[in-house]
Symmetry: C2
Subunit: 348 residues, 2 copies
């Protein structure tokens, strides 16, 4: 990189093109209102002198854009329908704002658009990326790796042996397996014996870990007591209907998240089952907008979603500043795993 | 991050090919004006050195980032709490995806962060900006103007005589005043005589226009029948309580949006007023997630929020591509104003 002394100035471009500084500035910044022959003259002078406009030049030198991308590997409609993402973004936003770094949320219609997200990340627009809600077969981790920007993941990434170059991924997660175990043990403690699990989307590690936690306690549960959901209320409704057909005698349900539990509660009410008398229900997340509004209010496993967002942002800013992200004591591969806590309300 | 040191530079290619930097740049970016034997020499040098054009540098020349910023002049918490924004973003996202342009949502904690948004827009990261929910004293229009990127506004901007340089702002809006008139006329037609209005945030043109529409019909309404809200359910509750104290005999309410109406309905129920028998209520927006869920379901003024988002994106992409945004027939200052329609449900 050449020093600033030798870098051609805006004035030099103006002189070369025979126009005013204001005209150069307007052309360079993509503004309107400059006639084409004039604009062309300015562009030629820019190229001939190798002039780099100020802001971009600054970021080429400092290599800082004071901006961080957030990528949620879900279509835009789900990002706005699931309060989990709003909570996590709230934590991220607070932390980035405190460091005067711009939060840049990259929205997509679906997985087909992830290549474009990779191009934006590689394009020199952000200092780093926070990525969450990854799915196992998602091309994003490879694309992000190719983009070469510092990244912190929300939730343990699902690749088997680490990312392509075996650099440990830095991530923030909660103790999904331990939290699930505590929920199911609580149901056992209530004397329930026919305890079912409605899973999350099983192409996500959080869903797999919660299922593992369920099995840790209910090793003998028959396969008909595990029904696949997808972390949405509609998925919870579908799964609960299937469960009631398979096992009409079910007396407890551990749902993979609060939205799933809310769907299950609706179907139980439809079928005249009393909660918790006939069927006890526990969720996961403790999103107050959901867990306090259900009928009855939901017993659930609390994770500090906003706090996880803050921590992700903090770890990323530290990596950007050239420090290293501190790996948590619980995990050797650069992950920080936060504890969970059972919150008892009326549903179990 | 891979080191820049090992990556071949534009200069190295120029040296290898024995041409100027400008010539390499022109060939690499697919530009014309380089004679074929020279261009071929450059291409060979590119291949031999394994030169990969720097994306940021290339976009300085091509002047395209294939990305559009969306700026909502509200704190991140409101963006996620009000389904209006999700609907508008859905329309924008669909349109941008169809043009393979990345939607970049710039989130903030509040107005203090708008200078940073201006810096990002000026930093050469996007081809243009869609800006909505502006407030009268917001510094954003000036910052955006300074950034010099093509912009389309959602909702008529509130500045009196156009932006600083008198270039007409391009915007998409609905007929707020006409829609309000239709709502209030409907209440008059039902025989209501003590018709009140709960306004939106009066530092936004949409709220002012709806208030004007109310006054067009109710020129004689006393000032105690107009209470200020802020487009939120909490604001609607506060305003409805105040209204019931001022005018316990109120027999109809036109609320500035559906969320405000939802808050007002809750307070009316609390006070034992039957809707619509005692008090008829009309909202504005027709957001199904709100208007169909209230008790009773809400009569409201429909605007095509998602369609407005699509149209904003379309107009912006046309400006970016060098065409001009077509001004609507209804407005000479570059605005496109879409019609509204009254949707009758049980509340009025």
């Amino acid at each position: 990189m050449t020093g600033t002394a030798s870098r051609p100035t805006l004035e030099a471009v103006a002189e070369r093109a025979g126009v005013s500084r204001a005209t150069v500035s307007r052309v360079v910044n993509g503004g309107d209102g400059v006639r084409e022959p004039l604009a062309e003259r300015v562009r030629r002078a820019v190229e001939e002198l190798g002039y780099v406009p100020n802001q971009a030049a600054r970021s080429l030198v400092t290599r800082r854009h004071d901006a961080v991308a957030v990528v949620i590997a879900e279509p835009e409609t789900r990002v706005f329908a699931d309060p989990f993402f709003a909570l996590q973004l709230r934590g991220i936003s607070k932390e980035l704002t405190a460091h005067d770094s711009q939060l840049v949320l990259l929205l997509t219609e679906g997985r087909d658009d992830h290549a474009r997200v990779g191009r934006y990340l590689a394009g020199g627009h952000v200092d780093g990326a926070l990525v969450f809600s990854l799915h196992l077969d998602d091309p994003l981790p490879g694309l992000i790796h190719g983009a070469g920007v510092p990244t912190v993941f929300g939730g343990r990434p699902g690749w088997g042996d680490g990312p392509p170059d075996a650099v440990p991924a830095v991530y923030v997660d909660c103790d999904n397996r331990g939290g699930a175990r505590e929920a199911v043990r609580h149901l056992v403690g209530l004397g329930r014996t026919r305890i079912a699990h409605i899973t999350g989307a099983l192409d996500q590690t959080s869903a797999v870990d919660r299922l593992d936690g369920f099995r840790d306690v209910m090793a003998d549960a028959g396969p008909e007591l595990v029904v696949e959901g997808d972390f949405t209320p509609a998925g919870g409704e579908r799964a609960m209907r299937e469960l009631l057909e398979r096992r009409p005698d079910v007396d407890a349900v551990f749902a993979a998240n609060d939205l799933t539990a809310a769907g299950a509660l609706r179907v139980l009410r439809e079928h005249g089952r009393r909660v918790p008398e006939d069927v006890a229900v526990i969720g996961f997340d403790d999103m107050l907008a959901v867990a306090e509004q259900t009928d009855p209010p939901l017993t659930t496993v609390r994770q500090d979603i906003e706090g996880m967002g803050r921590l992700m942002a903090r770890l990323l800013l530290r990596r950007i500043d050239g420090g290293v992200a501190e790996p948590g004591p619980e995990d050797s591969s650069g992950g920080v795993v936060l504890p969970t806590a059972l919150v008892r309300r009326a549903s179990a």
